[in-house]
């Protein structure tokens, strides 16, 4: 079946440099630096990446960071909590707009 998302494309991520090697190098060097141990540990960054992957619903990123989080030493409970953080923020983002609706209703109704 034809599909826009192909699992094998994940391994080809580096090929994107083909059209512009300079930008490609710059991006991947930056990307690598971002995930190094710093003020946050590599494991904490990996959990943030996992949560963001769910927020932006990127299947490539979910695959990559589910594996990376395990390698970095996280367990299922920690990873599930990270996904719930993404879920809470996404749900909260909808709900907080409800205040706009509420204000409108208050301004409009008797």
């Amino acid at each position: 079946m034809e599909t826009y998302y192909k699992p094998e494309d994940l391994a080809k991520f580096g090929d994107i440099a083909e059209g512009n090697p300079e930008l490609g190098r710059a991006f991947f060097s930056y990307y690598g630096k971002v995930f190094e141990d710093g003020a946050l540990t590599a494991r904490e960054k990996s959990l943030i990446a996992l949560a963001v992957a769910h927020a932006i619903q990127c299947p490539y990123c979910i695959d990559a960071y589910a594996n990376d989080a395990l390698e970095k030493g996280s367990d299922l409970e920690q990873m599930t909590e990270a996904v719930h953080v993404a879920t809470a923020i996404r749900g909260g983002a909808s709900l907080v707009h409800g205040v706009q609706m509420l204000e409108h209703v208050k301004a409009t109704m008797m």
Binding site: D37, T41, A42, R43, N67, L70, E71, K72, G73, D75, L76, E77, Q78
Partner: protein
């Protein structure tokens, strides 16, 4: 043969696996219990990748400027005291368990080891198993090695220290400067129990507290407490230094437990871990991951280059993995060396025996009994 009396009720209560009970391959009479079947399963895979693209370890060695893999100075004399264990971990490369009462080192072979240790010049004697403490000659052997001035390592599963008969060991080993290297795959319960059996985590933390109380894990070079972490699944271990920092802060914060260093080891695709990979349909994926992560920088520091591994019946191997696969050392001539005829010169002329499982030690940052090698 170790008397069944040693296997008291207290030794048995670790119920392995959260979902299923793990028993040894040998106990279940699985064909995979045989090394030839394990090697056959690895050979049967078509692997692309590695430096030469064929997943053939000896070719990738050659392409990395190691035409032959030869020994360096012998530093470590490793003795596998036997296959008997109070636990039955899912990933065990020895296929150990409470049923393995037959394959355990007798006093005569222990004495032959002691003579060989003197001849070997090795500075460290590394005791493993099974649970090495279960061998009735354990304390005798440790005492004699300490008397020879050797650094002694006990590869401990932790839970054995909760068994009444062995509760004196933390203090006993501390008095003799024995380094305790113990398995704790994760600093949280979920993964630890999944790999090592339900209830293991709680007992392991209790055992670590005993070791701390005996002076272990507080920076004293004579009371070194080392943790070993293996991935709980089909992935590679993370950076050893990073994991050590995480493990240290988490164990101290959650349990007030301290330790000195952490070794991050890769799971070897043999024995029960191989069975698990086959059952999950993950063998090819895992082997590809190992082969693609082949790192020539790990080769010089591989344990097979500075270690001799002795089996319960006194045979000699390049490492404990080759021992479990029955791949004996190859010395010039047709001899099959035994520890009672220990000949260092002959052993130094050997060529290290390799096979596909060796990719487990050369992947990423490398993996050996002493941790990452690159």
């Amino acid at each position: 043969m170790i008397s069944l009396k040693v296997l008291s009720e207290e030794l048995m209560p670790t119920t392995p696996g959260p979902n299923a009970t793990t028993t040894s391959l040998r106990y279940r009479r699985e064909p995979l219990a045989h090394p030839s079947v394990q090697l056959g399963a690895l050979d049967a895979l078509t692997l692309k990748g590695g430096r030469e693209g064929a997943g053939r370890f000896e070719l990738d060695l050659k392409a990395s400027n190691w035409p032959t893999l030869t020994p360096a100075t012998l530093d470590i004399f490793q003795i596998n005291l036997g296959k008997l264990c109070n636990m039955t971990c899912r990933h065990c490369h020895v296929d150990s368990g409470p049923d393995r009462v037959r394959e355990n080192m007798d006093r005569e072979t222990v004495d032959a080891c002691l003579r060989a240790i003197e001849l070997s010049g090795a500075h460290t004697v590394d005791l493993t198993g099974g649970a090495p403490e279960l061998n009735p000659n354990f304390e005798y052997l440790v005492e004699a090695c300490v008397a020879q001035g050797k650094h002694v390592i006990d590869r401990c599963n932790l839970t054995i220290l909760r068994v009444r008969r062995y509760r004196h060991l933390p203090k006993w080993m501390a008095e003799r400067g024995v380094e305790v290297v113990c398995s704790l795959p994760h600093y949280r319960k979920l993964n630890t129990d999944a790999q090592r059996g339900k209830g293991t985590y709680v007992k392991s933390i209790e055992a670590l507290r005993q070791l701390n109380a005996a002076g272990y894990g507080q920076g004293d070079p004579n009371r070194q407490l080392t943790l070993v972490s293996n991935p709980v699944g089909a992935f590679l271990p993370g950076n050893q230094a990073t994991l050590e920092a995480e493990w240290k802060s988490a164990l101290e914060a959650n349990h007030g437990v301290t330790f000195d260093r952490l070794l991050a080891l890769t799971n070897m695709p043999i024995s029960r871990y191989l069975e698990w990979l086959l059952q999950k349909g993950l063998l090819e994926t895992y082997m590809e991951r190992l082969v693609n992560a082949f790192n020539p920088a790990t080769i010089a520091g591989l344990m097979c280059r500075n270690t001799i591994s002795v089996s319960w019946d006194g045979r000699l191997f390049d490492c404990d993995f080759n021992q479990q696969l029955e791949l004996e050392v190859q010395v010039p001539g047709a001899a099959r060396p035994h520890v009672k005829d220990f000949n260092l010169d002959l052993l130094m002329q050997r060529q290290i025996v390799t096979h596909r499982h060796c990719y487990g030690c050369t992947a990423g940052a490398g993996s050996s009994c002493g941790g990452q090698t690159a």
